[in-house]
């Protein structure tokens, strides 16, 4: 287990690992919900692969969180035994799936944002975050390109597919502002060279979205509010997260300590 840099409190580093880990875990679960429902076999395989990559990232981050925060909780305890208010994911990851266009819009936004964050975290002074980031960057490039390809295909497709793509993005857009608002723990860790400041990745995010939406012949869904609060990071979620966790935690709660 790599050491925690000296001046950083383990509790705060643990919180940050939970933020990045919960983003991946919750997004992975929404993607997993497509399995047996995807429009084509190839898309089902793609969504399952992407969900698996994110689940792998989540497992390492949750394990790291439990190891450094002094609680001794392992990845399973953190995934299966926390209440919705203890989850630290952004709300974008938790809202229910809409149609396939909505899923591709969300994946484009999520993967573009996370790729930009992890790209910066490859230089983190925390060796575990740097390792997760270097691995994750390679995977997220594939996720983002996959989603971008579908956003272009649907946006620049038929009048009907274009309408659905635009509706999907418009529905997600109010949740985008939150992605770029740091919470106090993130700010302190970013200043210490451990975390990535989400406000700093906004130009990269805007440039990629503009390129993809232009190719998709779609306009920007709207302005990104500047006065958002980091609601998800502080444990304030939509009711959808409780529903999602009901599903995710059902077996572990019904059979505590079970193995198979």
């Amino acid at each position: 287990m790599p050491a925690v840099p000296d001046e950083v409190r383990g509790v705060e580093l643990g919180q940050y690992c939970l933020m990045l880990g919960d983003d991946a875990l919750v997004m992975s679960h929404r993607l997993q919900e497509w399995v047996t429902h995807a429009p084509e076999l190839e898309e089902e395989v793609a969504l399952a692969n992407i969900a698996l990559d994110l689940l792998g990232q989540a497992r390492v981050l949750l394990a790291r969180a439990g190891a450094v925060d002094g609680s001794g909780r392992d990845e399973d305890a953190l995934a299966f035994q926390r209440e919705p208010g203890e989850y630290r994911n952004v709300r974008l990851a938790e809202v229910p799936n809409g149609d396939f266009a909505h899923t591709m819009g969300r994946l484009l936004v999520f993967a573009t944002w996370r790729l930009a964050l992890l790209g910066r975290l490859t230089g983190s002074r925390d060796p575990m975050l740097a390792a997760v980031a270097a691995k994750g960057v390679k995977e997220l490039v594939y996720h983002r390109d996959y989603a971008a390809g579908w956003v272009v295909r649907l946006g620049d497709g038929t009048a009907y597919s274009r309408e659905r793509m635009a509706e999907g993005l418009a529905a997600l857009w109010p949740l985008v502002a939150e992605l770029f608002v740091p919470c106090p723990a993130e700010q302190r860790l970013a200043a210490a060279g451990i975390a990535a400041d989400p406000a700093a990745v906004r130009p990269e995010f805007d440039a990629v979205l503009a390129e993809v939406l232009t190719a998709a012949t779609l306009g920007t869904p709207g302005p990104v509010s500047a006065d958002a609060v980091p609601a998800g990071r502080e444990g304030s979620h939509t009711p959808a997260l409780a529903d999602l966790l009901g599903d995710l935690q059902q077996v572990a709660r019904a059979h505590p300590g079970a193995t198979w």
Binding site: L52, V137, Y142, R144
Partner: protein
């Protein structure tokens, strides 16, 4: 037996363990076997790295490695998983590439070089010409960038009409 000989022997056992998802290649062929050491007290410690973060084969790989070393007389080895440095398809050696191609799986080309700064988005098909592992034709196309295992994509050959897998460049 001298220590170096024991470590080298354990490496030879470990590198020959077959990959559970692509059993035509070994862990050594794939380049996921990173280190074999001997801990104080004599325990063999093996370090492997996953191809992808969520590679579902990692648990089977750890169990297979422990069993192979036990069977070869090395006792209870400790199997560690390390993410850093991250695996790249460039670590698949010439022998591994030959075995993949023989099994009908197109081996990876050179992995994309990573410079610092943002990675540009790729719209449309990856500009790559792959030879069909069955008939050798270059008239091939990608059908899905994600395949039956985390590290493969789906392609098809327009000449012989056969689909095939391709180990992705990463």
């Amino acid at each position: 037996m001298v220590t170096g000989g024991r470590v080298a022997g354990a490496w030879r056992v470990a590198e020959r363990v077959a990959d559970p998802e692509m059993p035509m290649v070994t862990l050594g062929d794939l380049g996921i076997l990173r280190e074999v050491e001997e801990a104080p007290g004599g325990r063999v410690v093996v370090t492997v790295t996953p191809t992808y973060s969520g590679c579902p084969a990692m648990e089977a790989i750890q169990a297979d490695l422990a069993a192979a070393l036990r069977d070869a007389g090395y006792g209870e080895a400790e199997i560690r998983v390390s993410l850093s440095p991250p695996w790249t398809s460039d670590w698949i050696g010439a022998e591994g590439r030959r075995k993949l191609a023989e099994a009908g799986i197109a081996p990876p080309g050179a992995a994309p070089s990573r410079r610092s700064g943002p990675v540009p988005v790729t719209l449309g098909p990856i500009p790559r010409r792959l030879a069909c592992p069955r008939c050798g034709s270059a008239d091939t196309e990608e059908t899905s960038r994600f395949g039956p295992t985390a590290c493969t994509a789906l392609w098809r050959c327009r000449a012989c009409r056969e689909p095939f897998e391709h180990v992705k460049e990463i």
